[in-house]
C-alpha cells in the first residue's frame, strides 16, 4: 500500500496557474459559419426560407417574385404563424399542444356570437374571447403542472372537448362578412391593411410579427424566459435549482391559450367571417407543429429559437403557394410538404452534426 503522505498539500492554497488552452483548429470562414449556425438555431430555417423563395422566384418569375405575392404569403401564414408562436412556448417546455387550433376557432366563435347573439359590444366580446382562451390554457396548465398528466394527453382531450363545444355553442351558424362590416367592425380590425407599393401588410400580419418579437425578447432576456427553457430542459433539475416549475408551466399554458384566442381574432380579420367549422380547429395543431419543427425547435424542449417557428411557417407557406401557382396537383403538394418536413429537419440535423 502507498505511504500515507500529505499529497493534497501539493495543491493546498495554490494560486491559479495557466490552464488548458487547447488549440482551436476551426477558424476562418467555415469555422465562423459553423459557429453562427450553432449559436443561432433559427439560421438554418432562415436559409431554407431564402432558398425556397429564390427557387420559386426562378421557377415562376415575376408572378411569384413580386411584393404582392410575397406579402400574400405572409397573409396566408398569419394564422398558422400565430398558432406556431403559441405552440413554440409549449414545445419549449417539452410539451405539445394539440388544442391550439380548436381554441382559436372557439375563441373566434365566442367573439362573434357574444356580439351577434347576445348583443355584447364587439370590443368586450374580443376581451371575453381572450379570457376564454387564457381560461382554457389555465385548465390545461393545471392538468399538466398539478395533476401531472402529460401535455399530449391533456391537449388531446381538450382538443376534442373544445371542438365539440365549438359546434354546440355555434349552433352551426356562420356570421357573414356583411353583418360583421355593418355591426362589428372591431372584430374585423385585424383585416385592415397598410399598402406600401404593391406590398400588403394586414394588421393581422403585423400583429403576428409583433407577437414573435415580444416572445423572442421575453424568452431571451427575461428571467421568465430562462425558466421556460430550464423547465423544458429538465424539470426536476429546474425545480431543485429554485424555479417554480408549476407556476412557470401555468404561465406558459395560459399565455398559449391567450395567443390562440388572438389567433381567433386574426382568423376573423382574415376571413371576414366567423365559422365554427373552420378547418383550423381540426388541422391547426398539425400545421403549427409542422411550422415549429421545420423551424428547428426540438420536440424534447429547452432548445431552439422562437423565430425558427416563424420561418418554419413561412417556408410551408412559400412551398404551398409556390406549388399552387405552378399548378401542382394538390396531392403532390401534400406529398412534397411531407417530404419537406423530413428533409428540413434532416438537413438541420446534418448541418448541426457537421458543425458540432
Amino acid at each position: 500500500m502507498a505511504e500515507a503522505d500529505n499529497y493534497e498539500d501539493t495543491v493546498k492554497g495554490k494560486k491559479e496557474v495557466d490552464f488548458a488552452q487547447f488549440e482551436d483548429t476551426k477558424s476562418g470562414l467555415l469555422g465562423r459559419i459553423q459557429h453562427a449556425l450553432h449559436v443561432n438555431p433559427a439560421l438554418v430555417p432562415l436559409i431554407i426560407l431564402v432558398f425556397a423563395i429564390a427557387l420559386f422566384g426562378l421557377l415562376l418569375g415575376q408572378r411569384f417574385f413580386s411584393a404582392g405575392t410575397l406579402t400574400l404569403i405572409l397573409q396566408q401564414v398569419q394564422i398558422v404563424g400565430v398558432l406556431a408562436a403559441a405552440q413554440t412556448l409549449i414545445i419549449l417546455t417539452a410539451g405539445i399542444d394539440l388544442s391550439v387550433g380548436a381554441i382559436a376557432v372557439l375563441s373566434s366563435v365566442i367573439m362573434g356570437q357574444m356580439t351577434f347573439r347576445y348583443g355584447v359590444p364587439a370590443e368586450i366580446s374580443i376581451l371575453i374571447g381572450f379570457a376564454f382562451g387564457a381560461g382554457i390554457g389555465a385548465v390545461s396548465g393545471f392538468l399538466v403542472s398539478r395533476i401531472k398528466i402529460p401535455p399530449f394527453i391533456v391537449t388531446l382531450g381538450i382538443w376534442q372537448v373544445v371542438l365539440a363545444a365549438n359546434y354546440l355553442f355555434a349552433n352551426n351558424q356562420t356570421i357573414r362578412s356583411s353583418d360583421l362590416r355593418a355591426e362589428a367592425p372591431a372584430l374585423l380590425f385585424l383585416g385592415n391593411r397598410v399598402e406600401i407599393g404593391g406590398a400588403n401588410f394586414t394588421f393581422g400580419v403585423i400583429l403576428m410579427i409583433l407577437i414573435f418579437i415580444a416572445l423572442g425578447y421575453a424568452l431571451r432576456s427575461t428571467a421568465w424566459g430562462r425558466h421556460v427553457y430550464a423547465v423544458g430542459d429538465d424539470p426536476e433539475a429546474a425545480q431543485l435549482a429554485g424555479v417554480n416549475v408549476k407556476r412557470t408551466l401555468m404561465s406558459v399554458y395560459m399565455l398559449t391559450g391567450l395567443i390562440c384566442a388572438v389567433a381567433g381574432w386574426v382568423m376573423i380579420g382574415r376571413f371576414s367571417s366567423v365559422s365554427p367549422s373552420a378547418s383550423t380547429g381540426v388541422i391547426g395543431n398539425i400545421q403549427s407543429i409542422t411550422a415549429v419543427v421545420i423551424g428547428g425547435l426540438s420536440l424534447f424542449g429547452g432548445r431552439g429559437s422562437i423565430y425558427g417557428a416563424l420561418f418554419g411557417a413561412m417556408i410551408v407557406g412559400v412551398f404551398e403557394l409556390g406549388l399552387r401557382m405552378a399548378g401542382a396537383d394538390p396531392q403532390w403538394t401534400f406529398m412534397l410538404i411531407g417530404m419537406l418536413i423530413i428533409g428540413a429537419v434532416g438537413l438541420d440535423q446534418w448541418i448541426r452534426k457537421v458543425s458540432a
Partner: protein, 263 residues
C-alpha cells in the same frame, strides 16, 4: 434576524422524528437531526443509509411522511426547494440540478436572476447578462475552475467534475443561513476537491454552518466539527472527530462496532 439572543446550544436547523417511505423502503426511519450555528456537520453512512433522503427532507426537495423540521427554533414546512432557498438554505444535490442546455451563467442564477437597473429591468424585466456573467466568472475562478473556457458554454459540454464545481460555486455564492452539500467532491479531482474544502472552511469562517455529506473520511475528519453517523435510515450517533479515529467512525457506520451511548 431577531434570533440574536439564542444560546449557542440552540440548533439552527433541526429535524425531529422524520419518516420517509418509498414503497416498501423506509428511507428515513424516525430520524433526528441537529445542526448548530457556525459548525461544519458531516453526515456519513453506507450507501443507501438515507443520507440524501435526510437532506432532501430538510431542504424541501421531498416532503417527509411525518416528522418536523425547525429552522432557528421555528417549525418550517418547506413545500419545495424554493421555500428553503427563500429561508436561506442552499443545497447542492447529488444530481446537481443543472439545466444541461443552458449556460453556466444561466444555471448559476437560475431562479434569482439579476435585472437591469432602471425601466428596462423593472418594467420589461430585462436581465443584466453582463453582471451575471461577471459574477459567475469570479465565483468559478475562486474555485479554481478556470479550465472552463467560456461562461456562456452550455453545462452539458462540461466534464462531470466541472459540473460539480459549478454547482458548488452556486451554493457557496448564495447560501445565507445554511449550506448543504451532498457529496460535493465525489466527482472532483484532487485539486478541485481541495478547492471545495477550502471553500467550505471559508464559508464557515463567514459564520454560515454547513452540512457535508461525504464518503471521504480524511476530508470529513479534516473539516468537520461534529460527525452525524447515519445508519439504516436514522441517526446512530454523533461523534466529535477529535475524540474518535476514522476507523471508529467507519466501524460505527458499518455496524462493526457498537455506537457510543451519548451523542
Amino acid at each position: 434576524m431577531d434570533q440574536k439572543g439564542i444560546s449557542v446550544m440552540e440548533p439552527i436547523l433541526s429535524g425531529k422524528n422524520l419518516v420517509k417511505r418509498y414503497g416498501k423502503v423506509t428511507a428515513l426511519d424516525h430520524c433526528d437531526f441537529e445542526l448548530y450555528p457556525g459548525e461544519i456537520l458531516a453526515v456519513i453512512g453506507d450507501n443507501g443509509a438515507g443520507k440524501s433522503s435526510l437532506i432532501k427532507a430538510l431542504s424541501g426537495a421531498t416532503i417527509p411522511d411525518s416528522g418536523e423540521v425547525y429552522l432557528e427554533g421555528k417549525q418550517v414546512n418547506f413545500r419545495s426547494p424554493i421555500d428553503a432557498r427563500g429561508a436561506g438554505i442552499e443545497t447542492v444535490y447529488q444530481t446537481l440540478a443543472m439545466s444541461p442546455a443552458l449556460s453556466i451563467a444561466d444555471n448559476m442564477f437560475m431562479g434569482r436572476e439579476l435585472k437591469k437597473p432602471g425601466v428596462m429591468g423593472s418594467v420589461f424585466g430585462q436581465l443584466d447578462k453582463k453582471r451575471m456573467q461577471d459574477f459567475a466568472r469570479d465565483k468559478l475562478s475562486e474555485l479554481g475552475l478556470m479550465t472552463i473556457q467560456n461562461i456562456n458554454q452550455a453545462v452539458e459540454t462540461l466534464s462531470g467534475g466541472q459540473r460539480q464545481g459549478v454547482a458548488v460555486a452556486r451554493a457557496a455564492a448564495f447560501g445565507s443561513k445554511v449550506i448543504i452539500l451532498d457529496e460535493p467532491t465525489a466527482a472532483l479531482g484532487v485539486k478541485e476537491s481541495r478547492k471545495v474544502l477550502e471553500l467550505i472552511l471559508d464559508v464557515r469562517s463567514r459564520g454560515i454552518p454547513i452540512i457535508l455529506i461525504s464518503h471521504n473520511m480524511p476530508h470529513v475528519f479534516e473539516v468537520a466539527d461534529r460527525i452525524h453517523v447515519h445508519r439504516l435510515g436514522k441517526r446512530l450517533c454523533v461523534i466529535d472527530p477529535k475524540d474518535y479515529t476514522m476507523s471508529d467512525a467507519v466501524a460505527f457506520m458499518t455496524g462493526a462496532k457498537e455506537a457510543p451511548v451519548d451523542a
